[in-house]
Amino acid sequence: MTAPTTTTTASNPAAKPLPFAKAINAGLRAAMARDERVMLMGEDIGPLGGVFRVTEGLQKEFGEDRVVDTPLAESGIIGTAIGLALRGYRPVCEIQFDGFIFPGFDQITTQLAKMHYRSKGRLNLPVVIRVPFAGGIGAVEHHSESPEALFAHTPGLRVVSPGSAQDAYTMIQEAIACPDPVLFFEPKGRYWEKGPVDLNVPIAADTLNKAVVARTGTDVTLVAYGPTVATALRAAEAAAAEGKSVEVIDLRAISPLDTDTVVASVKKTGRCVVTHEAVTYMGPGAEVAARVTERCFYELQAPVLRVGGFHNPYPVAKLEHDYIPSLDRILDSVDRVLAY
């Protein structure tokens, strides 16, 4: 039995294959062309185009005032972006790597997240913080982390992560258009993977609020976001070969979480596995599990299982594939929930 596959772009003839990084680049370009207040800030994002080349060509196209190579100071990047936003700009900050966001953590959590609230709604802070995150590229320490739960725990921030090239293109534009601050986590291990991208999709705000069923199924709901979406889809494919029908949900956003979409699926399947690269303990999967348990208590046939990072610092590159949730580890949990 092979489960039918649905994605947002599968049947779109206008979609052309584009690597994930190029899709974000195209999204940034479109947002900058649409609104002259959109500007990019970060380390090495000008002539170099960023260490992952996501901003390649943009400084040449839009000038140094709109694509700003900043001093190497993350708090400075976020803090000045807040000031620019107060002046009416829409800064998009690039944090070079996940592990380097922490010098900016104070500005993000004590200032950026709270200023709209403190001002009783008078001030909007449309700041996007792009963070290449998660592992799989054989990097050194501090270059492969998944700190998204730390930000999802902070009211006032939106936290999202695209799981497909199409969403990367659409979501970056919707994040930039959003009047609230958005943490935009880019699965760096997927930057070079191609996916179908339709450059003419309308820009609404749906992707920041709505999860998407990336593959339909009937036996188990497999919840993922960002880098684990592709792994989950491969796991579902492998499970299908063994006659197990796995429904894959790409959350897109972990704050706010689209609980309804997950619950609707679990009410149907009765089983749920959540996977992410972030540390399992106190991770986004725990929130998904709690919500699913609360709302699907009578439909659940098995406890909700989590497949995530172990409770240790991100390991050395030679061992990272023991740490990152793999197809086999995910399938192991799928088998375990089916065994109840």
């Binding site: 400075g76 807040i82 620019l84 002046r87 609230y117 709604g121």
Partner: protein
């Protein structure tokens, strides 16, 4: 105007002596060293100086009223500016309405010079809001409690001004002034702000009120080199003025703002003053500083010297003083009445303005809370 920086501004006896225009006894100080600074106060009339004095007296009255209200349990907390009136009123009057101010949390005097109704500040200290006034009504941003954070916001705002001027969205002569204290200079954000401001040549003035105490921690435990030199390594020039001297504070700010708005980049001012009161109403300075030290600075009270100068120059009379006292009495009554009129915000307001857009997590909480509240109602609709 760079000659102020190049003058041997600092007296021969103490190379770090702050520039002064009025001495503690109320005499005008006219020296070769302060010539360039004096030029920036030259436009001030005695009428201006009378305004400064009245504003300083009002700020002090505000402090007194707010402190008493805290002691009566009407305010949860209060952060006095006692002793810093000259630095704040002087520098505040050097600003233009189109300039933008990023205050710390003790800048009630500056707020007054911007035209803010000081009573609204007490909403924050009463615990009915987080100080959510309109940042742009008087170009006076919200207070920032995480010290030093706003130095970066000010710098970013100044970067925005530069872009707006280029695009014709601003006149190009606006500047930004950010206020923080000696304690904040130890924060990395202040250093990052100096760096970002310098490389962007941003029109921002860093106004440091060195009141010598960061709660209980003295200058000697915060830094070794004088604060006015802090910007030098970043390429941000600095000057040190007597922050208890309202004229020197005005002139320094006037010079710095002119420097910034003319495209010459950021400047740092150290206004050397003294926190005559406690850090906040929760603090107890008797635990960490001496009566002698407090007495030394009481004799250098910034208000005494302005009044002495005005009297000596025939610009202030007993009648003026009586009229001012009556005015301040009315102000005090207004403050007390305003604070006591502030009721408890509605519980449901907790959930307002978390996000600018509809957010499922907030909606969920709001809905749960309202159902929870409703569960305490009896069937006839009255509270049980």
């Amino acid at each position: 105007m760079t000659d102020l920086l190049s003058t041997p501004s600092l007296s021969s006896t103490d190379e770090h002596a702050p520039l002064q225009l009025i001495d503690p006894q109320g005499h005008r100080v006219i020296t070769q060293e302060n010539e360039a600074l004096r030029a920036h106060a030259a436009s001030l009339t005695l009428e201006d100086l009378r305004t400064f004095y009245k504003d300083m007296m009002l700020a002090r009255r505000f402090d007194g009223e707010a402190t008493a209200l805290q002691r009566q349990g009407e305010l949860a907390l209060y952060a006095p500016l006692l002793g810093q009136e000259a630095a704040q009123i002087g520098s505040g009057h050097a600003l233009r309405p189109t300039d933008m101010v990023f205050p710390s949390y003790r800048e009630h005097g500056v707020a007054h010079t911007r035209g803010m109704d000081l009573a609204t500040i007490l909403q924050l200290f009463r615990g009915v809001d987080h100080g959510g006034w309109d940042s742009f009504e008087h170009n006076f941003h919200l207070y920032t409690l995480v010290i030093g954070s706003h130095a970066l916001h000010a710098t970013g705002y100044a970067m925005g001004l530069q872009r707006d001027a280029k695009a014709g969205r601003a006149a190009g002569d606006e500047a930004v002034m950010v206020y923080f204290g000696d304690g904040a200079t130890s924060q990395g954000d202040v250093s990052e702000a100096l760096g970002f401001a310098a490389v962007n040549n941003a029109p921002v003035v860093f106004f440091v009120q060195n009141n010598q105490w960061a709660i209980s921690v003295p200058n000697s435990k915060q830094f070794k080199a004088p604060l006015y030199t802090r910007g030098e390594g970043f390429g941000v020039p600095g000057i040190r003025v007597d922050g208890n001297d309202v004229l020197a504070s005005f002139a320094a700010a006037h010079w710095a703002l002119e420097h910034a708005r003319s495209g010459n980049g950021p400047v740092l001012i150290e206004a050397l003053t003294y926190r005559m009161g406690a850090h906040t109403t929760s603090d107890d300075p008797t635990k960490y500083r001496t009566r002698e030290e407090e007495q030394f600075w009481r004799e250098r009270d910034p208000i005494i010297r302005v009044k002495a100068l005005l009297e000596a120059e025939g610009a202030w009379s007993e009648t003026d003083e009586t009229a001012l006292a009556a005015e301040l009495e009315g102000f005090g009554e207004y403050i007390r009445g305003y604070v006591k009129s502030l009721g408890r915000p509605s519980s449901a307001s907790i959930f307002e303005h978390v996000y600018a857009t509809e957010n499922a997590l907030v909606s969920e909480d709001r809905q749960w809370f309202s159902q929870y509240e409703a569960s305490f109602m009896d069937t006839t609709g009255g509270a049980q």
